[in-house]
């Protein structure tokens, strides 16, 4: 699943605004090198001043078009730099792709499928709906967006799914009732979801409560958002006594590494737990954006995954050495 670092160039072939704040960008890529099946993601090198950052995006594609890579980028009010750069692209521009993989491959062992998308989470779910539909098994999709203007790919999805596409617009007050949705799900139903953290956590806890098979809830998160907005904050590293700032467009991990602090990391998407640091004290709430820590571990507020989780402003002191790993209750 994990791809080694790649050296692939994508050239912008087409740009289209597919919703009021979502832009579709299609790249020409060398045929057959990238995994572009539903659920796949690609990582681009994105220049930021004199630095190169990496930004990962889910593909909209469904694996049937090996020389075209399609992504959808939301224009964030508080851009971390990635989307602002992506929105500045023009046809003919080239980008370096440094990684690729699929952390959410389609599965076919199910009686039926439910696809749940929230906001920009529609990106991977569009290819997923198309791919799953090809199995001939029933596929339902629920797509939650703020309004019709902010929903992307609706006509494409309608074409694939017909009446099995259920659009839920906040503007119509048609909010999703997750327990009600799970009433219609069997032990053999597989649910794929991608959306804001609140939606996914509500689904995960409702899923566990109904004791549905853990393997049948499939989701992906880039941990780009949490329960709080993305704010700058200050960190003092206890071991060195140094205080550093973490700006809106960098992660705690980036800031620690940039300031010469030696910390581990691997997945950089809040899944593996290798970048965990201990929190000694904090003046604001920790915004846990990972999927590694359990609810109990989170509630203790004594650690966070530096690759994605943040402080909601303010200041904290952390230990970056002598980290307690393993099952901590």
């Amino acid at each position: 699943m994990k791809a080694d670092s790649l050296d692939v160039t994508g050239q912008v072939a087409e740009i289209r605004d597919v919703a009021s704040s979502i832009r579709m960008i299609r790249f020409d890529v060398p045929s057959g090198i990238l995994n572009l099946e539903a659920g796949a993601h690609v990582t681009f090198d994105v220049p930021k001043g004199d630095r190169i950052m990496t930004r990962s995006y889910s593909v909209v594609d469904d694996g049937r078009h090996p020389d075209k890579l399609t992504i959808a980028v939301k224009s964030e009010e508080q851009s971390k730099g990635g989307s602002r750069y992506m929105w500045s692209l023009e046809p003919g521009d080239s980008l370096h792709i440094s990684a690729n993989g699929n952390a959410m491959p389609p599965t076919y062992l199910a009686s039926d499928f439910v696809v749940l998308a929230g906001g920009i989470g529609v990106t991977p779910m569009t290819g997923m709906a198309r791919t799953l539909k090809r199995t001939g098994k029933p596929v339902r999709m629920i797509y939650c967006a703020r309004s019709a203007e902010e929903a992307a790919f609706v006509s494409e999805l309608r074409e694939v799914l017909g009446d099995n596409l259920d659009m839920r617009y906040d503007s119509d007050k048609r909010f999703l009732d997750i327990p009600e949705l799970l009433e219609t799900v069997s032990m053999d139903t597989v649910v794929f979801m991608c959306g804001p953290q609140g939606l996914m956590e509500a689904m995960k806890s409702a899923w566990a409560e109904r004791e549905l098979p853990v393997q049948n809830l499939r989701y992906e998160t880039f941990a780009n958002s949490g329960i709080h907005p993305t704010r700058p904050f200050q960190v003092t590293v206890a071991e060195t006594g140094r205080t550093i700032g973490v700006s809106e467009d960098e992660t705690l991990l980036d800031a620690l590494l940039a300031s010469g602090h030696d910390v581990l990391s691997d997945c950089r998407r809040g899944e593996c737990g290798l970048c965990k640091v201990h929190v000694v004290e904090a003046t604001a709430d920790i915004d846990h954006r990972d999927v590694f820590l359990s609810p109990m571990e989170r509630a203790r507020n004594d650690c966070l995954c530096a690759c994605v989780s943040r402080l909601n402003g303010g200041h904290m002191t952390v230990n970056i050495d002598d980290i307690l790993h393993g099952r901590t209750g």
Partner: protein
């Protein structure tokens, strides 16, 4: 490395049904991918990549617990859909952790895997080898592990002229190489029909028929791309109407072949020799199986030395003779499958 010689969007036989058993992990490489197979308690067979998501340890060296596979190295547990359901020493499970699984279906005493786009894996596309488990037929077979590219085995079966030279004394005699044959083809299929009329039967067929005198002998090779063959063979006393469709005075066998690329230069060759006469006689079943096994050992020897010669002569190519018409159609059908697969990939969505 030369281009891939096998398509992915097709069913390949990977094992006899009994080889994939409950609670046991069977490793086997198919289309150059190491896979592991096992059977769930409900009898459903499972195929997944034989490499743990975590550190790529072979899952086949682990164990099956409650229908799940436990990695031998750090105890990660994967359910039959390939998703990780247990990780050591942590409260949560990384949602990315999974191994790829493949559609796997039991049919005609064999298990068939689909290595390509799973959405296209329609079990109705599994070739008809019903003679393997039809109650009106009796037979048995086994697997030959062939150290040669799978298409060399297809070539071998599509042109039985070689019987005269490789199998002289058992099923081959001069009459085979002298008799003309017809080839026909359809979408994904090719058929070679050869009638050898009014000739003395070779030793094996003379014994099976148990009647003296010349015979009309038939060899009808039904090929389904990429690599399944049902070989309709038999003899009847000459002039009793077999070429016209009345085989009632003769004896008939259906030898089935499911030929699966293991790598570009090795092959899993599953065969069974079935007959529709004297079907309750287990001794005859054994005699057929052992007789055919000896015949295929002769093919194995020539095909493996052919593969070695191909590798030793990378500057040389193949030439066709008119006897290769059946094999040439088979190879063209395989090439069309590979092309179609690539065209589907290219088609805009």
């Amino acid at each position: 490395m030369a281009e891939r010689t096998y398509p992915f969007n097709t069913w390949y036989a990977v094992a006899w049904d009994y080889e994939i058993a409950e609670g046991r992990l069977l490793p086997r490489r198919i289309c150059n991918k190491p896979l592991v197979f096992y059977r769930k308690k409900d009898g459903t067979a499972v195929a997944m990549d034989d490499a743990c998501w975590h550190r790529l340890a072979p899952l086949s060296k682990g164990k099956v617990v409650n229908d799940n596979v436990v990695c031998p190295y750090h105890g990660l547990v994967f359910e039959p859909g390939g998703r990780c359901v247990h990780m050591p020493s942590q409260e949560t499970i990384n949602p990315s952790a999974c191994v790829r699984t493949y559609p796997l279906v039991d049919r005609h005493r064999l298990c068939w895997v689909w290595m390509g786009d799973p959405a296209l894996a329609d079990p109705n596309l599994i070739p008809d080898l019903h003679w393997n488990d039809d109650p009106e037929w009796a037979g048995d077979g086994t697997t030959l592990h062939l150290k040669a590219n799978y298409l060399l085995a297809v070539d071998n079966l599509m042109d039985l002229t070689h019987e005269t030279f490789v199998h002289q004394g058992s099923i081959g005699n001069d009459a085979v190489a002298e008799a003309p044959f017809r080839t026909t083809h359809g979408p994904g299929t090719a058929t070679v029909t050869r009638w050898i009329l009014n000739q003395e039967p070779p030793a094996f067929w003379g014994e099976q028929l148990g009647k003296p005198g010349p015979v009309d002998r038939w060899q009808i090779i039904h090929f389904t791309a990429p690599s399944t063959i049902a070989l309709d063979v038999g003899v009847a006393p000459a002039g009793t109407g077999a070429p016209e469709g009345d085989r009632s005075q003769g004896v008939n066998g259906y030898i089935t072949f499911a030929i699966t690329p293991e790598t570009e230069t090795t092959t899993h060759y599953f065969w069974a020799a079935n007959r529709n006469f004297d079907i309750d006689n287990q001794s005859r079943t054994t005699i057929w199986r052992e007789g055919v096994r000896k015949i295929f050992a002769q093919d194995e020897a020539i095909l493996e030395s052919q593969q070695q010669a191909i590798e030793a002569n990378p500057d040389k190519t193949f030439y066709d003779l008119n006897i290769d018409a059946g094999g040439a159609w088979a190879r063209r059908k395989v090439a069309e499958m590979i092309e179609a697969e690539q065209a589907t990939m290219r088609r805009a969505v």
